[in-house]
């Protein structure tokens, strides 16, 4: 038995890196410390896709990697509008090959941000993002707002490691000396911990943000008695609490990105932060979901100039979420082939979009079988990043951390599979004289 320390979790955007596990006979046998139940489950492992396979007459038939590579490359090289989607639950090294493959194919490349924090990215492109690393929140923040986020369920270590419950340099007393504000439609595990819980009407976030902004800028007089189910009195008290902070930190989740005004909710959340910043230090950070969704946004941006929903048809990047994001392409039935890696549109896309995916050739690269496997035509099992493969990832605050390899795998890494597909695509194009 070997104890491995400083293990990095490859599940959610918290990317906790102080986990201790035991490894025996090339297996993770125990997660001793550091991980939440979700992360622990990831580290301990699940049923795997056992072999590469190609669908023949409706059934997946096992085959060699060589055969699957050849088939995948043929599908992609013949495609007039391929979609390469996913990229969030793998490492940046693989993402780079993905961008190169997309460029070679004249494909659309999109990542899971488009159904997660894509609206946040659009908002940042509108007004920017006054933010900070999570350690700044840990050491300084005395007022913490979770808006449309439920970290107690979705990011179980977030409050303990980084925010409300953590203890830092100027926050030695921990939560005793902090205020927690939760804004949500439902009462949640997180809202039960709050000093202030604003239970707002579903879909009315935008109005509440604007009201708070007007108050923070000194125009409480125009704000009506009630906004989005919240009384003016509560809004005024919340604004006072924000103004009185030494260091305020807002975190927001999919309660805001998925609702009503979507990207404009986030614009407004950021505008509220800027308004609060005229009184005191205030920051805002999206609660990114997958452990490396921030990373594919980074890689895609430094390579193409744009973070997601990028069309490389003409050899240069045309960026436009809402036109080129995966769900849009699929509901419009635009693409004629898809490569899905490290994600599961079968589970997370609207049914209307899945219908088109089920009709076109789909290549899947993933360690685990999932709903997408049910209609994939070529399937590649891959090593699990963070357990069987190392590589770079970006935490929700864009801090880069290197995943560790804990055990050997019989399966190749995502990067290696993608490189082989890319080589094969190039060989086909060479043969065709392109």
């Amino acid at each position: 038995m070997v104890e491995v320390t400083d293990v990095v979790c490859s599940l959610c955007g918290c990317v906790c890196d102080d986990i201790v596990v035991e490894v025996e006979d090339n297996k993770v046998t125990k997660v001793k410390r550091g991980a939440c139940s979700v992360g622990k489950s990831k580290l301990m492992g699940h049923n795997r896709i056992k072999s590469p396979a190609i669908r023949v007459n409706g059934e997946l038939k096992d085959c060699s990697y060589d055969e699957a590579i050849k088939k995948a490359a043929e599908i992609l090289a013949a495609s007039r509008r391929p979609l390469l989607y996913g990229w969030s639950s793998t490492v940046c090294e693989a993402d780079k090959v993905g961008v190169e493959l997309a460029e070679e194919l004249g494909a659309v490349i999109d990542n899971t941000a488009s159904v997660c924090h894509g609206p946040s990215v659009l908002a940042i492109q509108d007004v920017g993002l006054p933010s900070c690393t999570l350690g700044e929140v840990k050491n300084r923040a005395d007022v913490i707002i979770y808006w449309g986020a439920n970290p107690a369920e979705a990011h179980a270590n977030h409050m303990k490691r980084y925010s409300y419950v953590s203890k830092g340099f100027w926050t030695e007393e921990g939560k005793k000396a902090k205020k927690l504000v939760v804004v949500d439609v439902r009462a949640t595990k997180t809202s039960k911990m709050a000093d202030v819980f604003l239970q707002i009407e579903q879909g009315k976030d935008y109005l509440v943000f604007s009201a708070l902004r007007a108050i923070l800028y000194g125009h409480a007089d125009v704000v009506p008695d009630e906004v989005g189910g919240v009384s003016k009195k509560d809004l005024l008290e919340t604004a006072e609490m924000m103004k009185g902070a030494k260091f305020g930190a807002t975190f927001f989740g999919m309660g805001v990105t998925h609702t009503g005004a979507r990207q404009n909710n986030i614009v407004n959340a950021i505008q509220m932060t800027r308004a609060a910043h005229t009184h005191t230090k205030f920051t805002i950070t999206p609660m990114r979901g997958h452990y490396n969704v921030a990373g594919i946004n980074q890689v895609c941006t430094w390579e193409t100039g744009f973070p997601f929903a990028v069309d490389l048809t003409r050899g240069y990047a045309w960026y436009n979420p809402g036109e080129l994001s995966a769900t849009d392409l699929l509901i419009r039935q635009e693409c004629d082939a898809a490569l899905i890696i490290a994600s599961d549109p079968g589970a997370h896309f609207p049914g209307e979009s899945i219908k088109h995916l089920a009709k076109i050739p789909v290549i899947q690269i993933d360690p685990f079988p999932n709903p997408t496997t049910e209609f994939a035509d070529v399937v590649f099992p891959a090593a699990v990043s963070g357990v069987e493969a190392e590589g770079n990832v970006y935490r929700m605050d864009n801090i880069p951390i290197r995943l560790r390899k804990l055990i050997d795998s019989e399966y190749p890494e995502d990067e290696a599979i993608l490189k082989r597909i890319l080589d094969e695509v190039r060989a086909i194009k060479e043969k065709e004289g392109n």
Binding site: S37, L198, G322, P350
Partner: protein
């Protein structure tokens, strides 16, 4: 401490405002979506006690969730945190069966805030593989 609870969005009868979102157990099974635990956690719809009573549904009985974009059968669950008139489904294939793919030029479907109707049903909840089969052909 103050808590705002004056909740105004209460619809009549079986009409609800449907939202979907993450849960711990759903997250724990992200890499094992074919498992029973995932099925039990995700193929469900949380409603307030009052709404359940209106529907005449007990916990763990099947309900049909209907929107303009589709319908799906899931198990009903009681959740005190969910206000009257709101239905919560964990994110996953069942919730998505009734979500629109239209992003209104934003790239993001509206996963929360969908007008839905809920009714009691005797039909069985489809397993994930069966649910995926409905998208084929």
């Amino acid at each position: 401490m103050f808590v705002c609870t004056r909740y105004k969005w209460i619809k009549m009868g079986t009409k609800v405002n449907l939202i979907s979102g993450r849960t711990t157990v759903q997250g724990r099974n992200l890499d094992s979506k074919l498992s029973e635990e995932y099925f039990d956690e995700v193929a469900r719809c949380d409603l307030n006690k009052a709404d359940l009573e209106k529907l005449g549904v007990a916990a763990d009985e099947s309900v049909k969730v209907n929107t303009s974009y589709g319908e799906v059968i899931v198990k009903a669950k009681e959740d005190g945190g969910t206000p009257e008139g709101i239905a919560f489904m964990p994110m996953g294939p069942w919730a998505n069966a009734v979500v629109s793919g239209d992003t209104h030029g934003a790239g993001m479907p509206v996963y929360k805030g969908i007008d839905a109707e809920i009714e009691k049903t005797g039909e069985k909840v489809l397993h994930v593989k069966e649910l995926m089969q409905t998208y084929m052909g």
